[in-house]
Symmetry: C2
Subunit: 199 residues, 2 copies
């Protein structure tokens, strides 16, 4: 088990009435899954990845955050009005970020999952940033940093997937499934940023 | 050498006055490269990937297109007013798509490269779709399919990178560099789709 479970953390509203219905339909979600190449085999390897990453998810988030913290252009969206990192805000987000890793591997891509991806997207965009945690950081994380940093989220996962003694082929398949699932997530997160009709 | 070189194809305006200046600055590009983890080592492995993929780029594009053609939700953005694939349009695009693979691995990420990524983004969005090739297909490829399909562009490259006898470690490093470079590209292509101030 991960040190941080995340399901009990403030603002983790997965599957609750606190999360609005996504404007994306389940049919559109299925089309996106197919576009990203997420089929039954990928779902199986994603579940295996969930087992492999369960006790590593916090370390992954720590590694990503260390990287973000070292780059002003990524870090500043989490600064308070005093121009310094808002540690309370970051601490509130962290268990949800850890939980995202686990949820991505283990949850079915159903209405609750779809709704929560929209909610996470909103919390990065002006629609919802700061609101959940009553923070006073800048009103968004610009889309370009969400997209560019996903390259790190995708590539850095490989070494974590390789740490539990699986064959190179299984690691490769888990990594491909992870990549596709991350890209599906990022696709959904991008929706609140897009001009009307262009998403 | 690839069968399709691409540099001589109609509409391939890389580095010419036909391409407008990107609204993204070179400084912003550098920040995005850092965010995506594209450093000197990645550039070296990207150049190696360029050698490995040079004579395979057309096969990669053929594989991607076969996949797109088999999915209505991906294919229909290339249909003409008669509801059938616009083969003339697709034929016009193909050598530029092949060239994109090579350019991504081999071109410096300078002003000309930056400008051309903006141009490619515009050609997927209502700003510029159909114009270059005087086609009458739908006015955009929705952002969600550009993003979701990038999962295929990223993951499918691995087997092509592994075909020239490089060590597993070198294949892995080339693949990570490819992933980061694709995500950087997609990030730039997304700009014309984003609401003012949110990109």
């Amino acid at each position: 088990m991960s040190v941080v479970d995340g399901t009990k953390s403030a603002g983790y509203d997965y599957g609750t009435e606190g999360v609005a219905r996504s404007p994306v339909s389940l049919e559109e979600l299925r089309e996106l899954e197919t576009a990203a190449g997420l089929g039954d085999e990928e779902r199986r390897y994603l579940r295996l990845a969930g087992e492999v990453l369960a006790d590593q998810a916090e370390a992954m988030v720590d590694a990503w955050r260390a990287r973000m913290g070292a780059q002003e252009q990524l870090a500043k969206w989490f600064y308070g009005p005093d121009g310094k990192p808002d540690e309370r805000y970051k601490a509130a987000i962290k268990p949800r970020f850890v939980r995202w890793v686990i949820d991505l591997c283990t949850r079915p891509f159903d209405q609750a999952w779809l709704d929560y991806q929209e909610e996470i997207g909103r919390r990065h965009a002006p629609d919802g940033k700061n609101a959940t945690d009553e923070a006073q950081t800048p009103p968004l994380v610009p889309l370009r940093y969400v997209l560019a940093f996903s390259a790190i989220v995708v590539t850095s996962a490989r070494e974590f997937l390789a740490r539990k003694g699986h064959s190179t082929e299984d690691v490769e398949r888990m990594h491909a499934a992870w990549t596709k699932a991350v890209m599906l997530t990022i696709t959904l997160w991008a929706r609140p940023y897009a001009k009307e009709g262009l998403w």
